[in-house]
């Protein structure tokens, strides 16, 4: 084994962050990444149940789906889409910064991601508040003028369940990123060990992907009339 390779190997074996069950940092990093991917698969199936319910009732109640979708604000939804995809960009750049050993850039890109995420959540709060105002929240106070009120209620139930679960994931992501940003600020990451940043990135992109589907499925149903 050449000198640099053995130096790298022993650095992998004696890194401060190496956990006792792993032999090298590479093994630890690969395990962390695989673990996050497996977790994301569970998230796909978790949201999947809601998408299944959505699929069935869209097929059953196309008119109610159109009516319900028209109650949602395309502009706000569209802005949120741009904001969230933008946050995915900043997140990817944050991971890259950690990977290439730029801690300050890492922190800054992470903060940018959080800021954009915050904008998303604020807009969502406005949207929800508006719905409350109109009594469009499913449940005992639900009121809807139109021929398919009960079915529109199902649409809106799925709207709240899906965007609500999504927003919950964003809030968790926000918390996660603040921890990671703090660790980056404390110079915990380097090209040898940046797995937490990478894992947070994977999580954040996943949340973005869910919204990429939610936006057209909820906001853009039958808008051509």
């Amino acid at each position: 084994m050449s000198d640099s390779a053995s130096a790298e190997a022993s650095a992998g074996r004696h890194h401060a962050a190496l956990q006792h069950q792993f032999d090298t940092m590479e093994q630890q990093q690969e395990s962390a990444t695989l673990g996050m991917w497996v977790f994301l698969v569970t998230e796909v199936m978790f949201f999947g149940g809601l998408f299944m319910a959505y699929l069935l009732y869209r097929v059953w109640y196309p008119a109610a789906w159109a009516d319900g979708s028209r109650e949602l604000d395309i502009l706000l939804g569209g802005v949120n889409t741009v904001v969230l995809i933008g946050s995915s960009l900043t997140m990817a750049l944050a991971v890259r910064a950690a990977q290439t050993g730029f801690p300050r850039a890492t922190v800054n890109w992470l903060l940018a991601t959080m800021a954009l995420g915050g904008v998303f959540l604020v807009i969502k709060v406005f949207e929800y508040a508006h719905k409350v105002e109109l009594n469009h929240v499913p449940g005992p106070n639900f009121v809807f003028e139109g021929p398919h009120a009960r079915q529109v209620e199902i649409f809106l139930s799925l709207y709240f369940a899906m965007t609500g679960l999504h927003a919950l994931h964003m809030v968790i992501g926000f918390g996660l990123l603040s921890v990671i940003a703090w660790m980056a600020y404390k110079r915990k990451f380097s090209p040898e060990w940046y797995a937490p940043v990478e894992m947070s990135g994977l999580y954040w992109h996943f949340v973005d992907i869910v919204w990429i589907f939610l936006f057209p499925l909820l906001y853009l149903v039958d808008r051509a009339h």
Binding site: Q29, V59, Y61, S88, Y194, L220
Partner: protein, 110 residues
Amino acid sequence: MSGHVSPKTVSYTIFASLMVLTGITVAVAFINLGPLNFPVALSIAIVKATLVILFFMHVKYSSRLTKLVVATGFFFLLILFTLTMTDYLSRGWLTYPVGAGAPPAATQAH
């Protein structure tokens, strides 16, 4: 520590593509394509998601195992959708002659 480093230009290009596709999705939503609106919107979303997965999440440069894990997740999601829909889409196929003892005709949309 190995791991593919994306050039920044790739990230910016993907972002731009995602913006363009978002614009297309919204624009197409206002064009009446009848029953095709849904599949078109879904297809665009799938393309966007694929770009995020391959490039932002680095799956294009990841191990075979990672690609398998991603594929497996979507495969089983599709199983959930398609096998469940075999029930709903074929419920109306069996029709009974109307008469004593026959169950009422199945209705789907209300």
